[in-house]
């Protein structure tokens, strides 16, 4: 019984879509350092499709894994689909998170939503 599932550890060890998108048209940052978790999401949206997504995360193993998984779940998807992303979906895709780490998946959902909000604001919708 490891602390985390294999999936969590895989996404923690080899996080997908790490980094910055210089010409992102949707950026969101949630959490705060005081609580020990900050997630920043960069979106490149074209024709209502999430062409690219990258993240930066300050946080624990499950925060990093949740960010990574969240980007995978929305990459290449229509914005409308990304809007429907839930923290449960993130946690499930990771084969579960310990109860006291569920807030990490919540943060990932919020980071995506925040970046999408930013995109909508920028595009004036």
């Amino acid at each position: 019984m490891a602390l985390y599932s294999e999936k969590v550890m895989d996404h923690f060890r080899n996080p997908r879509n790490v980094g910055v998108i210089e010409d992102a048209n949707g950026i969101g940052e949630v959490g705060n350092a005081k609580c020990g978790d900050i997630m920043k999401m960069y979106l490149k949206i074209e024709d209502d499709i999430i062409k690219d997504v990258k993240f930066e995360t300050f946080g624990c193993g499950s925060a990093i894994a949740s960010s990574s998984m969240a980007t995978e779940l929305i990459k290449g998807k229509p914005v409308a689909d990304a809007m429907k992303l839930t923290n449960q979906a993130v946690a499930e895709a990771l084969d579960g998170l310990p109860d006291y780490k569920m807030h990490c998946s919540v943060l990932a959902e919020e980071a995506i939503k925040s970046a999408l909000d930013d995109y909508h604001k920028r595009t004036g919708e």
Partner: protein
């Protein structure tokens, strides 16, 4: 595996294991039984008590065996509180960075109407005996200050604090769980009235500890029942565990000088190597600390992810107290020495011992450097720090 979490628990010494196994097999009689087979167990028990007493300069009659450090802390503090209450004294002095076994017990007492003063531990993690003296009141029934801190390893001026307590006639308890077997402790010279210890912190078994209670200090039971331990701690005695603890302690104390020299050198090399990481800071005084303790904060990253990556590299380490991992709050110890939340989250404790090789020390240093650099590489906080959007704290 490079085991660098000896402050959480230690590997039992071969001698302790052998002692335990041989007693489990051949000396399982109940020490309270009349027949010879039981009296043999009693003999082993009393030999162990003598060894433990000798190791801390106490009289065997002043040693009560318990199930570990937490139980010892609970019994000592509750007992002093009860004795105090009987005299109308309901004020207790402690420090802000005690172990939870102490702090939670004090919290419970607070709910029962006790007043608790938690002293400042300052930036270097050291309590000032003068401040202990200033805090003592007419109705103070107990001062409880740890001998050495479990997270940042600082060694408190116990002898001086004990002196102050003696002068004012206040009972003085010290949680010496991290100190016993690691640095010299003498209950008489150090003016200690009660002292808690736990075997698994000095290469003894888990689930065994002891409580020293100076002759003349009133002790109430935490566990009521049979007449074991002179009626002060009920329960069939864990003779194999107790004897294994005594053997481990005897060896640790006999080897203290050597241990201190060897381990301190390795610790200082670790501190030196890790200090090369920018925007990092050693937690706790650099010299008044346990030989094996290294504790750092790294700006811009979080502790758990450091640990997991070190684990991948075969290094077992900790971030604050093992007991509190799983909690979301940063360590209360780091907050107590003034680290702000942001920074307190990014802590790493390495607790080494004699068996840690120089090669392992170097591996730890380079691994920590790699991991910190890697995590900072995609930390939004670090990005803000280096881009000047956020100010460095360390």
């Amino acid at each position: 595996m490079i085991y660098a979490d000896n402050a959480a628990t230690t590997k039992m010494s071969d001698k302790a294991i052998e002692t335990m196994v041989s007693l489990m097999k051949d000396t399982y009689g109940n020490p309270s039984s009349l027949y010879e087979f039981g009296q043999k167990s009693k003999e082993v028990l009393e030999e162990a008590r003598l060894k433990v007493a000798n190791a801390i300069g106490a009289n065997p009659k002043e040693i009560i065996f318990t199930s570990g450090g937490s139980e010892s802390d609970n019994q000592a503090i509750n007992s002093a509180a009860k004795a105090g209450e009987a005299q109308g004294k309901k004020h207790i002095i402690s420090s802000a960075f005690e172990h939870h076994a102490v702090l939670h017990t004090l919290n419970k007492l607070k709910k029962e109407g006790f007043e608790i003063t938690l002293l400042d531990v300052h930036e270097n993690g050291l309590i000032d005996p003068k401040e202990v003296e200033d805090a003592i009141r007419e109705d103070t029934c107990l001062v409880t200050i740890m001998f050495a801190n479990n997270e940042i390893g600082t060694i408190e001026p116990i002898r001086e604090i004990g002196e102050v307590c003696k002068k004012h006639g206040v009972t003085f308890h010290t949680d010496a769980v991290q100190a016993i077997g690691h640095i010299p402790v003498n209950v008489v010279d150090d003016n200690i009235d009660m002292l808690s210890a736990s075997a698994h912190k000095f290469h003894g078994p888990k689930g065994v500890g002891f409580l020293y209670v100076r002759k003349g200090v009133k002790l109430y039971n935490l566990i009521e029942g049979g007449a074991q331990e002179k009626g002060k701690r009920a329960g069939t005695e864990n003779v194999p565990g107790i004897a294994a603890m005594a053997v481990a302690l005897e060896d640790a104390v006999a080897n203290l000088d050597n241990y201190s020299k060897l381990v301190t050198a390795k610790r200082d090399r670790l501190i030196e190597g890790i200090s090369e990481i920018s925007h990092s800071a050693l937690n706790g005084d650099a010299t008044k600390r346990l030989p094996g303790n290294v504790n750092f904060c790294f700006e811009g990253i979080e502790g758990e992810s450091i640990l997991l990556l070190l684990d991948d590299k075969g290094i077992a380490a900790s971030s604050g107290s093992a007991c509190t991992s799983g909690s979301l709050d940063p360590s209360h110890v780091l907050l107590a020495i003034g680290r702000v939340h942001d920074v307190a989250h990014g802590s790493l404790r390495l607790s080494i011992d004699e068996s840690t090789t120089d090669e392992e020390v170097e591996t730890i240093i380079s691994s920590v450097k790699e991991v910190v650099e890697y995590l900072r590489g995609f930390s939004p906080v670090w990005r803000d720090l280096i881009s000047g959007k956020r100010e460095f704290i360390l």
